[in-house]
Structure formats: C-alpha cells, structure tokens
Amino acid sequence: MIVIEPGSPLPPYEQLRAQLARQIQTRTLAVGTRLPTIRRLAADLGLAANTVARAYRELEEAGLIETRGAAGSFVSAAGEQARERAQRAAAEYAAVVASVGIDTSEAIRIIRAALTNAVAPSPSP
C-alpha cells in the first residue's frame, strides 16, 4: 500500500519514492513486479504526473526499478544482486574470523567500525 499525506513535511514525490524503495528493499515488491504507469499512479494518488515521474526517475537512478520501453516500469534485479553480493562477502568475512580465532563480539565490533568508516564523509584536503 502507498499512502500520500498532503500534510506531511516531506514532498509528495519523496513520500512516494521512499515508500516504493522500502517495499522493494524489504521484498514486499518482488523482483520483476510491474509498477503502475506514471499516469495511473498519479490519478490514483491525486498527484501531478511530473511528481510521480520524478519519484520513478530517482528509483531508476538508484537501480531499484527499470523501465522497459512501452512495457512499463519493473522492480529491478539490481538491488537483489547487490544484497546477494553483500551476503557472500559477509560469509567470507565470517570464515576468515573463524579461521584466525577472533570471537563473535570482536568480529562484530570490527565490522561495525568498517561500516562507520565506509559511510562517514571523507575528510576535505
């Protein structure tokens, strides 16, 4: 279900983009699911077509959906592949941790620090 709240501080395109992105990431919307057309979704939600088009464009840029010409927009397999790649990397890391004898809590601390470094902004020169 997609909900658009006119009173929300978030603009409608961002409400739509965030809800679709969440449903794709949590697999509520499976890979290959066909999304409504821009015009149809705009009519259903009482939005301008440009608003829906912007949300779709941003989802496409994030690799979550893909547009196949006249066939419409579909949930992309790219997000699923990225998740599988991360799971493979985690399994390899777990194997390394086990082989060198690091305990679980320390292994989690290491991965948390690595994640923090990865998302932190790089220092300006």
Binding site: M1, I4, L20, L29, P36, L41, D44, L45
Partner: protein, 268 residues
C-alpha cells in the same frame, strides 16, 4: 447520507468478509451509485432485447411486403450504438460520484502494483467470455451460409447484436480497468478492489449474448442451429459455474484476496 445506504454498505462489508469494519459514508455513496447504475444497466439489457426483437419482426413484415427489409439493419445498428452510449453514460455517472468523493479525502492510498484484466477477472473467466463471443460469432456465420433468406437475415441481426454487446463490454471493462482508486485507508482500498472485481465480473458476463438469438435466429426455426446454440449455452453455463465454484472452494474471502493484491490474482 441515508441510513438505508449505510445499512446496505454494512451488509455488503459482512458479505465480503469485512466483519471487523464499519460502513463509511464514502463506501455507502459508492455502493449506492453502483446499485442505481446496475438497475439502469439491467433496464438497458431488457430494452436492447426488445429492440432487437421488434426490429427483426418489423423487418420481416417489411420484407414480406417489399421483398427486402430496408430500415431494419440501420435501426438495429442505431440501437446498438444507443446501448454502448447508455453503458458509457452509466460508467460516467459512477466516475463522477467517485470524483466528488475523491476531493473530500484527507489522504490518498493505492496499490504499488499494476492491476490488469488478468488480476481482476482471472484468466479462466476471461477465456470463457472470449470463447463465448467467438462461439456466438461462429454460429452466426454458419447461419449466414444457410440458403434461406429469413435465416440469413436473422444471422445478420444476430451478428450486429453480438458486435454491439462486445463493444459495450469492452467500454465497460476499460472503465473498470482505468478508473482511479478512491481510498484513504486500508479498508477503503480493499473495498475499492472488491468493487472493481465485482464490476469487472458484471461487465464480462455473457448473459446478454446467450439470450440474443431468441429474438432473431431461433425464431426462424433452423433445427440444427437451435440445437447447436442450446449446447453452446449449456457448455458456457457449465464452464462459468465450474469457474465460480472453484473460486469459492479456494476458500479465500474477497478481503483476504485484496490484501494479497501485490502480485496475486484476485478474481472471485
């Protein structure tokens, strides 16, 4: 809002498995306009059958007097155009009521998936409807090949009527498939989908098709053709009954089907 409309909306909710829900003015208004348009659609069906029968009878008399029926077929075509126009007007009335209520909603909700004809009608029901039309056209074409002027005229009348009914059905189905969702919460969204499924089923019913030849070809007493049509109607009815029974046996309420609407068939 009339209390009777709210009561009927409550009954509708219970019948469709929404046992924990209370009727809202939005639902009551949408159901009320559908009831009225259904009545209008049924009156249109009756008027169409009468018009086809009268046109056929008048043309026969005309043909007996002048050797050919001059006005029968154009009048019948006009009747069919009228049928499509009335169906379109009834759909427009439903859409107008929906639009009025849309503007009062505090927020809007919808499904993130595309609900096409396959989701709403179900492939078996759609296939039976399409087969029923193809069968009717095939039988009418066979009747055209009979070397008897009366039978051929009746077959042309039937063909025009079948084409008119088909166009009316397409217009109605297009309306059901393309009209925007009118919902502001989960309940109204589920109800919207159930209404859409019901409307699609009503639109795709070939009942009018089955009775069309009574006012034309059957009257012309072509023995084998009448038997063939009877078998065709019986088979179509059995197929429809089997599809409906299978859906009931699946044990899903319309609401539970609606809740799974992200990617599943919801025909019922």
């Amino acid at each position: 809002m009339k209390t009777s409309n709210l009561d009927q909306a409550g009954t509708w909710l219970r019948r469709h498995g929404f046992t924990d829900a209370s009727p809202t003015p939005l639902l009551a208004a949408r159901l009320a306009v559908r009831r009225r348009t259904q009545l209008g659609a049924q009156a249109t069906v009756a008027a169409t059958i009468l018009a086809v029968a009268l046109t056929y009878k008048h043309s026969q008399r005309e043909a007996a007097a002048h050797g050919f029926g001059l006005y029968g077929l154009p009048v019948l075509m006009l009747v069919m155009v009228g049928l499509v126009a009335v169906r379109y007007a009834l759909d427009w009335w439903v859409r107008r009521t929906d639009r009025q209520w849309e503007q009062t909603l505090p927020r809007r909700v919808t499904y993130p998936v595309r609900l096409g004809w396959r989701s709403l009608l179900g492939l078996p029901r759609a296939a039976i409807t399409a087969t029923a039309f193809l069968g009717a056209v095939a039988l009418a074409m066979y009747a055209l090949s009979i070397p008897d002027g009366t039978a051929r005229y009746a077959a042309v009348v039937l063909l025009i009527a079948v084409c008119g009914v088909a166009v009316g059905m397409v217009v109605q189905l297009r309306h059901v498939l393309t009209r925007p969702v009118v919902a502001d919460d989960e309940l109204s969204l589920d109800a919207d989908l159930v209404m859409r499924v019901e409307d699609a089923k009503d639109a795709a019913s070939p009942a009018l098709l089955w009775i069309m030849p009574i006012s034309s070809v059957i009257h012309s007493n072509i023995g084998w053709w009448n038997y063939a049509w009877s078998v065709f109607v019986a088979l179509s009815l059995i197929a429809f009954a089997v599809v409906s029974f299978a859906t009931v046996c699946r044990g899903t309420t319309a609401r539970s089907a609606a809740r799974q609407a992200t990617g599943v068939t919801v025909s019922r």
